[in-house]
């Protein structure tokens, strides 16, 4: 038994050798991992510039996975910073400049030139200029415009003005109210503006004499009135601004107001920029419109308030229209009588 022992132990030798070789191989593998060249070749693949470029482009590919519920966003929203910069550096300052600038220009104009009075005395005979329907539409759209402009301005600039004044509680209520009003009245404004634009389209087709009107600066400064039909050049510009920029503001507003249709973040960024530029611009022009229609021109406001304008006003401001309808002029007493009798507008024009 004693003699046979070494021979019996011999079977362990090959195993020992095998273990040795195996351990060497493992050591070799460990050495290989310390070698940067080979490590790089076996490591988790590169997150290199190309990957980041692809991520920034927003392109996701079929094997893109996002664990978030109903997530339709890519990894990095690269356009967010662009939107932020355009909004903070351009759109917001633009709004302040055009609106404050317009107020300053109007104030200066009023101080230097003053109210544009009628050159001739009133005849006391009236012409129907705006029908009840147009007046109702105008004042509804105008009121909504003012409410939307004020709430919009509060959304854009309120935090710089009101939070320090009101403190958090009142500020929070004010802002949520502002957003509610803006979001719910906006679509109503949009519908009514389109109706008003359609109603007034025929009167606002550009004509040749509008060019002459612009060449004379609309008669805003100095004496004399350039030719004008039912709508003068300036009114047509306002009309077409509303028909273009106004529609852009409405459409972009609807894009922002109805996120339930699943439009993406990028679409809403652009909609927000268009909405801001258009709305600030229109607000500034509206200030001019309000000035000219009230303080700036004698006899204009009563047209939209009562529907009737004085013959003299029509002759001076809208001579071509006056020539068409002058035989329909009625004495003021008749207008008042008709109104108190409740028979409404006389069929003169609209």
């Amino acid at each position: 038994m004693n003699r046979s022992t070494p021979w019996r132990a011999l079977w362990r030798l090959p195993l020992l050798l095998l273990a040795l070789v195996a351990s060497l191989a493992v050591a070799q593998l460990a050495l290989a991992q310390a070698d940067p060249e080979r490590e790089a070749a076996t490591a988790v693949p590169a997150v290199d510039a190309d990957v980041w470029r692809q991520i920034k482009s927003g392109e996701t590919g079929p094997n893109y996975r996002d664990s978030r519920y109903a997530s339709d966003y890519n990894l990095i929203n690269a356009s967010g910073e662009t939107w932020r910069m355009l909004r903070e550096r351009w759109v917001s300052p633009f709004g302040v400049i055009v609106i404050v600038g317009m107020i300053a220009v109007i104030a200066l104009f009023y101080l230097m030139v003053g109210r544009k009075k009628l050159d001739e005395p009133r005849t006391g005979r009236k012409l129907l200029r705006w029908s009840l329907l147009v007046r109702s539409l105008h004042w509804t759209v105008a009121s909504l415009f003012i409410v939307l402009a004020l709430t919009g301005l509060n959304l854009a600039y309120g935090k710089a003005v009101f939070r320090p004044i009101f403190g958090d509680g009142a500020w929070a209520a004010m802002m949520s109210g502002t957003k509610l009003i803006h979001n719910y009245l906006g679509p109503l404004f949009g519908i009514l503006l389109v109706v008003l634009l359609v109603r007034l389209l025929a009167d606002n087709i550009p004509r040749k004499h509008d060019l002459a009107w612009f060449a004379k600066g609309g008669g805003l400064v100095g004496k004399g009135h350039p030719d004008a039909g039912f709508a003068n050049g300036g009114e047509k510009v306002w009309y077409w601004l509303l028909a273009t920029a106004g529609i852009a503001v409405i459409v972009s507003g609807l894009v922002l107001d109805f996120p339930n249709y699943g439009q993406g973040r990028d679409t809403m960024q652009w909609a927000n920029l268009i909405h801001g530029v258009g709305a600030f611009g229109l607000t500034a022009v509206a200030l001019g419109h309000i000035y000219i229609g009230t303080l700036g021109t004698e006899g204009s406001f009563e047209g939209m308030a009562t529907g009737y304008v004085d013959e003299t006003w029509a002759k001076e401001h809208h001579n071509l229209w006056y020539d068409e309808v002058k035989d329909q002029a009625i004495p003021e007493a008749q207008v008042n009588a008709a109104r108190s009798a409740g028979s409404g507008d006389q069929p003169a024009s609209g």
Binding site: Q33, A34, P36, E37, E39, A40, A43, V44, P45, A46, V47, D48, A49, V51, Q54, I55, G61, N63, Y64, R65, D66, S67, R68, Y69, S71, Y73, N74, L75, I76, N77, G80, E81, W83, R84, R87, E88, L155, A156, G158, K159, D168, W171, A172, M175, S176, T178, K179, N183, Y184, P187, L256, D257, F258, P259, N260, G262, R265, M268, Q269, N272
Partner: protein
């Protein structure tokens, strides 16, 4: 003072979604809201890589800049929080955020989105009582001296959270340990010229 940061080591992330689950559990956020998400690029391909994303608590946070109600604000330690009492749900923070962090419980007509919710770095938010804070914003682990649960529970420690300097030190150490000639940015053709690994070695 410390500046708190998240960092996800994409070479360690195994797309287990543990961070997502931990976050939901710690903060009890509304159904449909998921403050953290895991994005996988080229899933199933040899170049597959995953990263966990939430609010990155930016130094110059775009959401704070564009918010019309000053709902969003930054604490001295860099954590970006939101005040749900001020939020009107306009969605501007979502347009601006590079990481898609802000989320809204609803997406209804007339811009009815509800109050925005996003990662708080497990630091809660403004509230009168602890209960109200938990109900509105979830856990305030930072106040208890703990780090965000997502990072604490990350199985591979891919997701790191804490003081920016310490997070950077840990990552730098890993870069050195990995021994890539170009550090964490392996395969980057510019790595040689930028000498990223060299810098890392110097400071690690």
């Amino acid at each position: 003072m410390a500046t708190m940061k998240f960092m996800c080591d994409a070479e360690r992330c195994i797309e287990c979604n543990g961070c997502v689950t931990a976050c939901k559990n710690a903060n009890e956020v509304d159904w449909g809201i998921q403050r953290r998400r895991v994005v996988t690029l080229n899933d199933g391909e040899p170049s597959e890589v995953s990263i966990s994303v939430a609010c990155m608590h930016c130094d110059d946070a775009p959401c704070i800049a564009v918010c019309p109600t000053e709902t969003l604000y930054q604490r001295d330690d860099g954590i970006v929080l939101h005040d749900k009492d001020l939020c009107i749900g306009c969605g501007y923070c979502l347009y601006a955020c590079p990481f898609g962090a802000p989320q809204f419980p609803k997406e209804n007509a007339f811009g009815e989105r509800g109050k925005m919710d996003k990662c708080t770095f497990c630091a809660g938010g403004p509230a009168e009582t602890k209960e109200e804070e938990y109900q509105k914003y979830g856990a305030n682990r930072i106040a208890e001296g703990k780090l965000p649960l997502c990072a604490e529970m990350c199985s591979t420690k891919a997701l790191l959270a804490g003081d920016a300097q310490e997070v950077a030190d840990i990552f730098r150490q890993r870069v050195v340990q990995r021994g890539h000639k170009d550090g964490a940015w392996s395969g980057n053709p510019r790595a040689e010229t930028d000498s990223l690994a060299y810098d890392a070695t110097q400071q690690g």
